[in-house]
Symmetry: C2
């Protein structure tokens, strides 16, 4: 047991031996890319920090946020990009097209921005049926219309058979940051409440149940949705939000660990307060997943000061995408970078960042 572990255990009031067993094994240096580098967890973080940030070092990238917050001719602008490699292309409640549109809209919304324009770039494997391409493009249009954004520029590349996987889509987006918004990890303070807008883990389980051929009584659908309206409603109601993040790859656990590290704070979750649908919970149990690590595509985590929290919760709950919003935890002054959870049975355990790969190609 290292003295650092003992120290963390003491600060978090948890059993040091339990903490040691829950800590991820040390991550070896990799001399090639492995699937885990795309997990959204510890390996992704390491790849980004050691290889990408080290090369591109600048103040915008260094925030490690979902998008960059920039100044362009005096305007506060958010700019973001994401590639989508989800498998299968079509799944309950969505497809790669709507996912690609909603995902980038959400990254802009997490910067406190109103999404304005999107790009769409396709890398298509030779042989993709034209009808599938058409379905995907239609789905993108519908998603863009539903969210009130325009797809204004694009690109199409084709790779030879066996050198891609049907279709990969990149969407980038630009938007104007709300005048009221000031979203930064370093605004997160002890006392802040952590809100989520609804039940977690649906996207990952929807994808995995298709892949594994599982059938549940009720089909589990992705939660993929555009969060710009919800975020806009919270800002317009005048509620100050310190930090926003959509917990996609790597789930709540990885997103909260990232924020705890950046904000140098301790986060404590309350398991009982975290909304999760019964069917999704059953799916997690069957598949052996901890829902805290399962990807969401229509959820956000909002850090709000304690005096703002109830009002922000109320305004979320008035929005169609926030009916089941809940306060699921809070920020503590304890050990920096530590995320713990008070379990249903009353114990406390450490929630570490996802290490390795859990659900490849979930988005």
């Amino acid at each position: 047991m290292s003295s650092r572990l003992a120290e963390i255990a003491e600060a978090a009031h948890i059993d040091a031996t339990a903490l040691a067993s829950s800590c991820p094994v040390p991550i070896l240096q990799h001399n090639q890319i492995v699937l885990g580098h795309g997990s959204g967890g510890r390996l992704t973080q390491r790849l980004i920090q050691q290889e990408i940030l080290a090369a591109f070092r600048n103040q915008h990238l260094a925030t490690l946020h979902d998008g960059a917050m920039l100044t362009l001719n005096g305007s506060r602008v958010a700019f973001t990009t994401d590639s989508y490699v989800v498998k299968p292309l079509f799944f309950p409640g969505g497809d790669i097209g709507s996912l690609a549109v909603n995902g980038t809209i959400n990254d802009l919304a997490m910067c406190g921005a109103r999404p304005a324009y999107l790009s769409a770039a396709f890398i298509i494997e030779e042989g993709l049926p034209m009808e599938e391409f058409r379905r995907i493009v239609r789905s993108m249009r519908q998603a863009a219309e539903a969210a009130g954004v325009e797809i204004v520029t694009g690109d199409t590349k084709v790779v030879d058979r066996g050198k891609g996987d049907k279709i990969f889509i990149n969407t980038a987006g630009v938007g104007l940051i709300h005048s009221r918004a000031d979203i930064r990890a370093d605004r997160v303070r002890p006392g802040d409440k952590i809100l989520v807008n609804g039940p977690i883990a649906a996207h990952g389980i929807a994808i995995m149940s298709v892949r594994e051929g599982l059938e549940f009584e009720a089909e589990i659908e992705t939660d993929s949705a555009p969060l710009n309206g919800l975020v806009g409603a919270v800002f317009e109601a005048g509620h100050d939000v310190n930090m926003l993040r959509d917990p996609t790859r790597g789930g709540l656990a990885s997103a909260l660990n990232e924020i705890a590290e950046q904000a140098k704070v301790c986060i404590r979750l309350d398991e009982q307060a975290i909304p999760i649908d019964e069917a999704v919970k059953a799916g997690c149990e069957i598949l052996g997943f901890d829902p805290l690590y399962v990807a969401n595509e229509g959820k956000l985590l909002a850090f709000v000061s304690p005096d703002n929290a109830d009002a922000a919760l109320a305004s979320m709950r008035q929005h169609p995408l926030g009916h089941e919003a809940a306060i699921i935890g809070e920020v503590l002054a304890g050990t920096p970078s530590l995320v713990t959870i008070k379990t249903r049975v009353g114990g406390t355990r450490v929630v570490s960042m996802l290490s390795g790969e859990q659900l490849p190609r979930i988005c």
Copy 2:
């Protein structure tokens, strides 16, 4: 012989039989994606028009330019995206990383914009050596620094072995449009001179000679370069430019056909005036390519009114990337959408858009 062909032949003063033989065969409807859909030629154009524009229909996409020209909070902003799937990853004079940075910078420059910020999104195949990833990222940084732009946001996805091809890179970019710039196909007028900033076809031949294992006396290097400085110099010298385009996939021929169609003008090139390096010309002959269809990655076509053309040419020639700039053709009032070339031997032939696939995965 259709009456339309006879009419075109008469208008262009060329032999109608020769015209018929040079016309592309009709393109069949495809029920799946083929490599030619990524060629940058007729098939790409059809895919974009029938499948993508039909779905996303809006004024910005409809311009079919290299990027979208938008208004964001009162500022004129350009926004563009491109994915890079070039094979091999490393080639004489460049690599996929520098190509991805320069390419998006150039698309912004072709909108008359000063590139400000880029995104970088990687789709990596499991197994890519970390050292190759590192080289690519370093190369991106150097290219961005050389052009004075920042890479501010990114994304990393990993796909399983056999479902990608080492690495694909998407870059998107935003920039502010020069106050003097008004780049639009519908500003192209009969009388306009067509300028190119230097010798053509180097990029495609550099890639193909690596792929085919050809060795020339002097190694042929890609012309990949950031054109923002050159374009800025022309604007700052006060020279009005009506239209800009970088002739990448599909080469000069496809770019000029697109512009001729959009502007509803006739274009006549002068073969003798088109700069091409001897080694590149030899490479084209060995490989059986018409240099007019071979991709460039550091070239631009500028349409300038006749009274501005010589001055614009002079200011291009003062820039390191424009020493060998030349006036290579002009816009005529003849048959709309027709591109012809006056050959070295004094004849005239039609230059049609690339149909099918010539050089897959050239960028």
